[in-house]
């Protein structure tokens, strides 16, 4: 059930109705029931696997709490970690073998995923929970029901945000739905729908055409398409997150933010502070810090190895494909170079006025992210390199007929109607990006803004892509 489908909103509405009619003490059971139903409707296998993994993790963690520090405790701890790591790896392998996500983008209608909804997201939560319990950082005793809730809570199940134990578990069964939360939730859902249906889904066909069908014919098309894919991915994923956070708010729950204007980042480190925040903070806390701590005697290698291993695992988490690994490792290298330059005190901010240096840094960061995402988006390494061969072929960078060779392929046609639609899409993207800060502030507010709501609904109806529901990209992970 896609989060922007009518079925989802019917499901959400019905769940909320029952939730509000249920006495306070039983509300969490209603949410859990709805979550199980949500997963079960998607695939019964997913529900069974979630219950098995959550139950095993819960009881292993319970043993950790009750056992003094000894070998048995360590054994329990590592068996819990191994169980969840193996589940992720097995899931990734069964889903797509050692390939990239060719079939997701190219043949989504005929490809049968080995579908286990949200597994790689809740397994990370399980691992986080085990670590917190092992180091006694999360001392609260929780019930199995609460732990099921923690993993299965349906708004965030399929594609996060990934919650850490202290972020969600203490809220379960203790929340009270207030009017301002309902307003904030509704406005966030609306923002998510606009991002997904008005921006991401309008960009998607052109990007699909260039990446999967025609290929970029020249450098400028390759550059432009790489930029557009970055924008598509951002609006798609952050749109999903907005709907998830908004839906959770309607039940009174606050879940972690996942984005903070990442396309305005002025360095790769800054980008990762603003992009997929829940994954970054999980990786930082549970992978990077422990590695750095263990290697603390050698500060340089602790940082470099910490970054490389963290990003390697992040790539592996996305999939077994070599393209994902290169995508992730490239970011690690960018960060290491950034740290080196910083250490040497080389920065354009020293020679240029702040506004210009910020603009150049922003553009450079956006370009590097877009180039790395070519690996993420390409079906194979060969395809990615072919793409770069065109991108950096400066002899054919700008073609003679710009309209026919650059705009028309992205617009899916050179006729007036296709070109008009493409220009509208670009205008919508630019307007949104230019006013992004203000738009985010308005929609994150818990104050009812009637003209904004009415305006957003109208924009959704006028420009949103309704007829074909594109899958959210991150639901495949």
């Amino acid at each position: 059930m896609s989060l922007n489908s009518l079925a989802y909103f019917a499901f959400l509405g019905t769940s909320l109705l029952v939730y509000f009619l249920t006495p306070k003490n039983y509300k969490k059971y209603i949410v859990l029931l709805a979550s199980f139903l949500f997963i079960g409707i998607g695939s019964l296998d997913s529900l069974v696997v979630l219950i098995i993994l959550s139950t095993s993790t819960y009881f292993i963690a319970k043993k950790l709490s009750n056992t003094p520090i000894n070998r048995v405790r360590k054994l329990h701890y590592f068996s819990g970690l191994a169980l969840n790591c193996l589940a992720i790896l097995l899931f990734k392998y069964l889903e797509n073998g050692f390939e990239g996500y060719e079939t997701f983008f190219k043949e989504s209608s005929t490809h049968h995923f080995f579908l286990l909804l949200g597994l790689s997201f809740y397994c990370l939560q399980n691992i986080g929970f085990l670590i917190e319990k092992y180091f006694n950082r999360f001392k609260e005793e929780i019930s199995l029901i609460d732990f099921f809730f923690f993993n299965a809570f349906f708004p965030k199940l399929i594609a996060g945000p990934i919650c850490q134990p202290h972020e969600l578990l203490p809220q379960i069964g203790r929340v009270e739905v207030k009017k301002d939360q309902i307003i904030a939730g509704f406005q966030r859902i609306l923002l998510g729908l606009v991002k997904k249906m008005v921006i991401a889904d309008r960009i998607a066909p052109g990007v699909h055409e260039i990446f999967d069908i025609d290929g970029p014919g020249n450098g400028i098309t390759a550059l432009f398409t790489a930029f557009l894919f970055t924008i598509q991915l951002y609006f798609d994923f952050s749109g999903y997150t907005d709907i998830a956070i908004g839906s959770a708010k309607l039940f009174g729950y606050n879940i972690k933010e996942n984005f903070n204007l990442p396309l305005r980042a002025t360095s790769i480190r800054d980008f990762w502070r603003k992009w997929h925040i829940s994954l970054t903070s999980w990786l930082t806390k549970y992978i990077y810090y422990p590695i750095s701590f263990h290697l603390r005697d050698n500060p340089v290698s602790s940082v470099i190895l910490g970054i490389l291993i963290t990003f390697f695992l992040s790539g592996l988490w996305h999939g077994f494909g070599i393209t994902f690994l290169i995508y992730a490792i490239s970011h690690a290298l960018f960060i290491i170079i950034e740290l080196y330059l910083e250490k040497r005190n080389w920065s354009i901010a020293r020679i240029l006025p702040p506004t210009i240096s910020r603009f150049i840094s922003g553009l450079l960061t956006f370009s590097l992210v877009s180039f790395s995402l070519v690996f993420f988006r390409s079906a194979s390494l060969h395809e990615a390199f072919s793409y770069f061969a065109v991108l950096f072929d400066l002899t054919h960078f700008i073609p003679k007929d710009f309209l026919y060779e650059v705009i028309a392929p992205l617009a899916l046609g050179g006729d007036q109607e296709s070109l008009f639609n493409f220009y509208v899409t670009i205008a919508l993207v630019l307007i949104f990006l230019l006013l992004e800060k203000r738009i985010e502030r308005l929609f994150h507010s818990s104050e009812l803004k009637i003209p904004i709501i009415v305006g957003a609904i109208l924009v959704l109806f006028i420009f949103g892509i309704v007829e074909s529901t594109e899958q959210f990209i991150y639901t495949q992970f």
């Binding site: 109607e417 009812l448 109208l458 109806f461 006028i462 007829e467």
Partner: protein, 315 residues
């Protein structure tokens, strides 16, 4: 009470604006002279010969050239990607406002019955859904779309990418008080200098392509025959030349043609197939496997016009 008031204000405002938008789009799309369906509904064409079908006749058949041979006034109502349900609806809407033509010339080939070629263009009928026949056919062909159409503006919101440009063009036509469309007789020549390679032709049809026969398409094919018969219109079918090597390995092209012939023979409908012309053998006469280039198209118009004139019209 204040909350209820807010909800009512939001819902009321949204519904009000959507209602205004729907009415505006209804009007603007009706007034767009370049949308053939709108044009024939709002203007008297009263052609003697009406050309219908997908891109092949739309891009290739010139009413002006055909008139020279047949002496019949003609209008080209064909549109790219049109399938039989589209043709049926456009014919129905044309006949609603115009005198029935003496002849309807329709392109029919094995592709016409195959779902891999052409589509049903539901979006074209947004402004005409109040017509019961249009409503029924769109419901039959695109029930998902029809589910939404009872909600204000959703008949345009659902396929909104297909409407904005046309609505703005409609506004331009109103403001400029335009009287005739860009293509006056409906003929929309698309003679591009596309690079032609044997591979490009091959890619249009997979090796050993086998055509399928969609029962729904066949149903609307019969509906067209029935409509023409009711209105006492002589329906004429034709298939224009195609690049001969395109179908050389097709498993069942002839089978589909024979099946079609069997149907039309029952209704005494002539079906002309131009599969033996010399021009079929040279790749350079084509811009796609079934669309001729400009010069060969002119030749074909003359040939077709003469054939119609000799074998049907003058008889």
């Amino acid at each position: 009470l204040k909350d209820v008031k807010h909800i009512v204000i939001i819902l009321g405002a949204v519904l009000f604006f959507l209602f205004i938008l729907e009415k505006s789009y209804d009007y603007l799309l009706h007034e767009n002279l370049n949308i053939k369906t709108s044009y024939v509904v709002n203007h008297k064409i009263d052609a003697d010969l009406l050309i219908v079908g997908p891109c092949v006749p739309d891009w290739m058949l010139s009413p002006e050239l055909l008139k020279k041979e047949t002496n019949l006034s003609a209008y080209n109502l064909a549109k790219p990607h049109f399938s039989f349900p589209d043709i049926y609806l456009n014919l129905h809407l044309y006949l609603r406002e115009n005198t029935p033509p003496k002849n309807v010339l329709m392109f029919v080939s094995p592709e016409s019955f195959d779902l891999n070629y052409n589509i049903f263009n539901s979006y074209l009928y947004g402004p005409f859904l109040s017509d019961s026949i249009v409503n029924k056919v769109v419901l039959d062909m695109d029930p998902d779309y029809m589910k939404w159409t009872s909600f204000p503006f959703m008949k345009y919101a659902y396929y909104n990418k297909k409407y904005h440009f046309n609505a703005i063009q409609g506004l331009k036509h109103i403001l400029k008080n335009k009287k005739s469309p860009y293509f006056i007789d409906g003929f929309e020549p698309q003679f591009n200098n596309w690079k032609i390679t044997p591979d490009a032709f091959k890619s249009e049809y997979p090796k050993n392509y086998s055509f399928s026969w969609d029962p729904k398409r066949a149903f609307y094919f019969l509906k067209i025959i029935q409509l023409c018969s009711e209105k006492d219109i002589q329906l004429i079918l034709y298939e224009s030349p195609f690049y001969s090597s395109t179908y050389s390995d097709s498993q069942n092209r002839q089978k589909i043609i024979n099946k079609t012939k069997k149907i039309v023979e029952k209704h005494a409908i002539p079906y002309f197939i131009f599969d033996t012309l010399d021009m079929s053998h040279s790749m350079h006469n084509f811009q796609t496997s079934i669309n001729l280039r400009e010069q060969s198209s002119i030749e074909f118009n003359k040939l077709l016009g003469k054939l119609l004139s000799d074998s049907i019209i003058n008889k």
